[in-house]
């Protein structure tokens, strides 16, 4: 339950963080809230030799809105997001989901950037980013780039981020539709989702139906062609590849996806 030895470095700014990580080589990791990384390190499933702590970089923690877009600093905690008046008004889907990640202690430390960079397909936020058509801003040794959420997640715990490249900001276009819902199915409240569904307008994001977050694209197409929520939801599992694991056989996950998408669409409809 003790991480393997590593060197701790504290970054004073984004550029400093990149410099420290680039200088340390392949085995450096950024330490954000630590609530995805530290558990792995304590079980020695991750053994970086350098940790670059970005927790004191003030510019990475902010929530602002302008020009029809909400911008959230990558180091903004789940708790800050849950409490944000700006987000409650403009992107309530995100505010609600953040308020139910883990437990209060986790939410006080865990950050949106940390969660997204960790890319656990069972986590709630990645699917929410897909449903919100978010753009992720990253800065690294090669400069700054903007990455669409749909292009960001490559596989299990794998993103397009290069070594020493740091997520700095998440930009969310203010949703046109007031219809949103998040349905999360787990054994206990604190568990990872067995299956989760994030709906924003006609976008349907799926949690834990594959090695990355997914869009229920056949459902979305059906909705766009005027299908009812029930009819559209019947397609929810198409194009997905859910795991067979301790909590759920594959067929059960597919069934849950259909049920939860229908419930999410129904609930979103009441808000439209």
């Amino acid at each position: 339950m003790i991480p393997a030895p590593f060197t701790y470095r504290r970054a004073a700014s984004v550029d400093h963080a990149i410099e420290l990580a680039a200088g340390a080589g392949e085995d450096a990791k950024f330490l954000a809230g630590g609530h995805s990384l530290m558990p792995l390190m304590k079980l020695r499933l991750a053994v970086p030799d350098t940790l670059v702590d970005i927790g004191r970089i003030g510019e990475l923690s902010h929530i602002s809105e302008h020009d029809g877009q909400v911008a959230i600093g990558a180091m903004t905690t789940h708790d800050e997001i849950a409490r944000s008046g700006v987000l409650a008004a403009s992107v309530p889907l995100l505010a609600q989901v953040a308020g139910r990640i883990g437990d209060p202690q986790v939410r006080h430390c865990g950050t949106i950037g940390g969660s997204l960079a960790h890319a656990d397909p069972a986590a709630d936020l990645p699917a929410v980013m897909l449903a919100l058509d978010a753009t992720l801003v990253a800065r690294g040794p090669a400069g700054t780039r903007e990455i669409g959420a749909a292009d960001f997640f490559l596989g299990l715990f794998e993103t397009v981020l290069a070594p020493a490249e740091l997520l700095t900001e998440i930009r969310i276009p203010k949703p046109a539709s007031a219809a949103w819902s998040f349905q999360k199915f787990s054994k206990r409240g604190i568990d990872w989702a067995i299956v989760g569904v994030a709906v924003q307008g006609g976008n349907v994001g799926l949690v834990n139906m594959g090695s990355t977050p997914l869009r229920a694209s056949v459902t979305e197409q059906a909705l766009a062609s005027g299908a009812s929520p029930e009819a559209a939801a019947a397609h929810a599992a198409e194009g997905t590849s859910p795991a067979d694991d301790l909590n759920a056989p594959r067929a059960y996950r597919e069934h849950l996806a259909r049920v939860l998408v229908r419930r999410a669409l129904d609930e979103a409809g009441t808000r439209a």
Partner: protein, 156 residues
């Protein structure tokens, strides 16, 4: 590396290995053993303390991350006079502890909950404490204790 943490109002400074967990800094360096380690997957909450006033799981935070910040542990709740803190009193009054191992973390989580939500419903208390595991009490009296503490604070 050198880490300086203000723990229960006192500055504690030490040179510790970079990988030192905050919980071990508190237990072994600051000598405050109320905060316990109950798991290795950040599941149980026995290690909960306040970091700059907000509840965190100290087993999942590096001492380095708490450098130059302030921590409150269960020992720091009473004002030093030997009197129990109001939440601790409520835990006693409602028999909210049996073996006591989860209790410091449970109390700190409750203090943090009431700071953020002074009038929680029973459901809100139960949800807010889902990161704090107890094997002895079945949570029934813990929930009563938190609700009693909340109710005691409400102006009539």
């Amino acid at each position: 590396m050198k880490v300086t943490v203000t723990v229960n109002g006192d500055e504690v400074a030490a040179d510790v290995p970079d990988r030192t967990l905050l919980v071990h800094f508190l237990r072994d360096v600051a000598g405050l053993t109320a905060t316990n380690v109950g798991c290795d997957t950040s599941s149980c909450g026995a290690c909960t303390v306040l970091l700059d006033g907000r509840s965190v799981k100290s087993c999942t935070v590096l001492a380095a991350q708490a450098d130059e910040r302030s921590v409150t542990t269960a020992e720091g709740l009473s004002d030093g006079s030997g009197e129990l803190h109001q939440v601790q009193r409520a835990f006693r009054a409602e028999h909210g502890l049996q073996c006591g191992f989860c209790t410091p973390g449970m109390v700190m989580a409750s203090v943090s909950l009431l700071a953020e939500n002074p009038s929680p419903t029973e459901d809100e208390v139960r949800t807010a404490l889902e990161g704090n595991l107890c094997r002895c009490t079945g949570y029934h009296n813990i929930v009563r204790a938190v609700l009693a503490a909340a109710s005691e604070r409400r102006p009539n």
